[in-house]
């Protein structure tokens, strides 16, 4: 075989797979989006939904799935309620236009939906934080899991400040937070800091004066807070109002700008890990996402917006990779083959066993000016 023939054969082999693959046809690809935009989780729920809405608009405009193919959201409200979420999922299943579903802030609700969608429709989780939620090939998660970062943050703060005693707050009615606290406590203990107390609160609690008094009564060097959003900001506000001057370590629930608007000054200097922030993430994709989000909603995105955004990009990417008319089964198989979310705002987002992973640790805190900055030990 002469040189030219070899070159032609190589070209033919390279081009052949592209030539035989038929892109998904033009038309609407509907994603059933189970939102918690009202109810107790509304602050986060609205951010997830807005991120997903922005992504679908961008995907459609760019022709990401295929020329003339639109990604469309069918949004149904669940208000953080498991029964309503299940009802919504049954409606998505019955609607043959819906090719995939996306849902859920609460891990127990995801677990209640897994048997509903198994074998029928792919589900991409955008917000629930418990590890182990994905179940291939039907359930995936684009949540940047906060647990490992909580542990690293707790250990970093403990190694830096060398506290003798640490008191912990934990959401007693949230298994994910209990696991996160237990892991953080173990990491802190490994640095030599003793546990002064573990104080339980409930997600529905609103008055934290007494728990704050209880924590201060243990006279800790550092207080670490592993609770859902409302209790976390309530605890920190109550601790500062009662005069606690020590270091408080929070979690990523403190990141949304709405939390700064709600509590303000007591959050200044409280370190917490962060997967995404418009003040910190500066990749071209992140900057474009922030600009588009601000233009559309007149407010900056937060980590929840980013997760809702990535859920839609993962679905679009899998649809784009498919050959011919997509089906729910075909999409599930295509999702299972994705090893990374190519269009992401984190500077890299791998998919491993159906779970998105964001590497690297950024510890930030709110500044007095209301921006997020890298944390520096006091």
């Amino acid at each position: 075989m002469n040189k030219h023939a070899s070159w032609l054969l190589a070209m033919a082999l390279t081009v052949a797979p592209i030539a035989v693959q038929a892109a998904p046809p033009a038309g609407d690809y509907v994603v059933g989006f189970n939102t918690d935009s009202t109810g107790p989780l509304a602050a986060a729920g609205q951010s997830f939904t807005r991120g997903a809405e922005l992504a679908t608009a961008e995907i459609t405009a760019a022709g990401t799935i295929a020329p003339g193919a639109r990604l469309v959201l069918d949004i149904k409200e669940a208000a953080g309620d498991a029964a309503r979420s299940i009802q919504n999922m049954h409606q998505f299943l019955a609607d043959r236009r819906v090719i995939a579903a996306s849902c859920c802030i609460l891990s127990p609700i995801v677990n209640s939906l897994k048997p509903v969608v198994a074998g029928k429709m792919p589900l991409v989780v955008y917000g629930a934080t418990a590890p182990g939620l994905p179940s291939l090939p039907w359930v995936y998660s684009t949540t940047a899991l906060p647990g490992p970062k909580d542990t690293e943050t707790a250990a970093t703060v403990a190694r830096t400040l060398k506290p003798k005693t640490v008191t912990y707050f934990v959401s007693a009615d949230n298994d994910a937070f209990k696991a996160r606290m237990a892991a953080a406590e173990a990491a802190v203990k490994a640095t030599g800091a003793a546990t002064a107390a573990v104080i339980s609160v409930l997600g529905t609690d609103t008055d934290f004066t007494a728990p704050a008094t209880q924590a201060m009564g243990t006279n800790p060097d550092v207080i670490m807070v592993y609770t859902t959003q409302s209790p976390a900001v309530g605890i920190i506000a109550a601790l500062r109002a009662r005069g606690f001057k020590g270091v408080i370590v929070g979690n990523d629930a403190l990141a949304p700008a709405a939390m700064w608007a709600k509590i303000g000054a007591p959050l200044v200097g409280v370190p917490f890990p962060l997967s995404f922030s418009p003040d910190v993430n500066q990749s071209p994709e992140a900057r474009a996402f922030v600009a588009a989000y601000k233009a559309k909603y007149n407010t900056p995105p937060d980590l929840y917006s980013a997760q809702g955004y990535e859920a839609m990009w993962l679905i679009a990417q899998a649809l784009h990779s498919m050959d011919g008319q997509p089906t729910r089964e075909g999409l599930a198989a295509a999702l299972a083959k994705q090893t990374a979310i190519e269009h992401n705002v984190y500077g890299g987002q791998a998919m491993k066993d159906g779970q998105a992973e964001v590497t690297g640790l950024t510890i930030v805190n709110w500044t007095a000016e209301g921006t997020l900055a890298a944390w520096k030990a006091p």
Partner: protein, 295 residues
């Protein structure tokens, strides 16, 4: 000892909010015969009104408090006239009123969610007293003292109103038998309006104070107070506001001390077990008479 005293103050302060809420809740039940599930919404809307008065209108603390109280009263009157007056006219029983109140609870909760854009808001620093004077080594946060003082003033005032004034006599008469009261020259419609307004106002006061103390101005505020307020009314006795006040304080102290010294995760279970035990011993409540059922 220091910790015990601090937690006692905390318990009294949170209990004062329960007590204030319970007074309004009890007034409606004892006078109007309505177990009003929408009562928590009056507290939520009052807190929302107080918040916007403080932030959008930049009114001082006292004026924001008044705005919340007036909103609570106005809403209670509005709901009574729209929801309960037609039922009264038709002679519907307590169950019909309860179901109607649940419907209004849902509607008002949704409206409160819209009013706050589904967010939990917080009174900004500087819009309420935040001083923390010390009594020896015991901190006495200003808002806690205002809540406790508010409960004392409201309890005394409403108790006096009910037991020593013509309006109070008319309220008791309507509560006992509306037809008989009318035959005696009482205008039941006016009494009902006054009672609903007074109940809404006290719940509104509880709502604004709770919204400030807990950094939570949202539709969930009233929901949280509803169960505790109901418990305080049951334990205190429906017919005497002093019972609701004392039971509210007791509930708050039990809640805080059980969390401090027994179990934080079992706090509510312990508190309600104590209440249940109390009711077994004294079913008519602290200040209730032998039978509190309306004739």
């Amino acid at each position: 000892m220091q910790l015990l005293l601090e937690q006692m103050v905390n318990g009294c302060a949170i209990g004062a909010l329960y007590g204030l809420f319970a007074i309004g809740f009890g007034l409606v039940f004892s006078t109007l015969g309505i177990l009003n599930a929408a009562h928590g919404c009056y507290a939520s809307f009052a807190a929302i009104a107080g918040y916007y008065a403080a932030t959008s209108l930049r009114l001082p603390f006292a004026a924001s408090l008044v705005a919340g109280v007036v909103t609570g009263a106005a809403l209670a009157i509005l709901v009574d006239q729209i929801a309960f007056q037609p039922l009264r006219r038709r002679g519907a029983g307590m169950l019909g009123a309860l179901i109607t109140s649940i419907a209004f609870w849902m509607i008002l909760d949704s409206l409160a969610g819209l009013a706050t854009d589904q967010q939990s808001l917080s009174f900004p620093a500087g819009t309420f007293p935040s001083a923390m004077p010390m009594l020896g080594t015991l901190p006495l946060p200003a808002m806690q003292m205002i809540a406790i003082g508010g409960l004392i003033v409201v309890t005394i005032a409403i108790h006096w109103l009910i037991t020593h004034s013509r309006l109070g006599a008319a309220m008791r008469a309507v509560g006992w038998n509306e037809t008989a009261a009318q035959l005696g020259g009482v205008n039941p419609r006016l009494v009902i309006l006054a009672t609903a307004g007074l109940a809404g106002a006290t719940s509104g006061l509880a709502g604004v104070l709770a919204g400030i103390s807990t950094n939570n101005v949202s539709f969930t505020l009233g929901e949280g107070m509803l169960l505790k307020g109901f418990a305080a009314v049951v334990v205190g006795g429906y017919e005497d506001v002093r019972g609701a006040a004392v039971a509210g304080i007791g509930l708050g102290v039990a809640e805080v001390l059980s969390a401090q010294y027994i179990s934080t995760s079992m706090r509510d279970a312990i508190t309600y077990a104590l209440l249940l035990g109390f009711l077994v011993l004294r079913p008519r409540g602290l200040f209730g008479r032998a039978s509190f059922l309306r004739a």
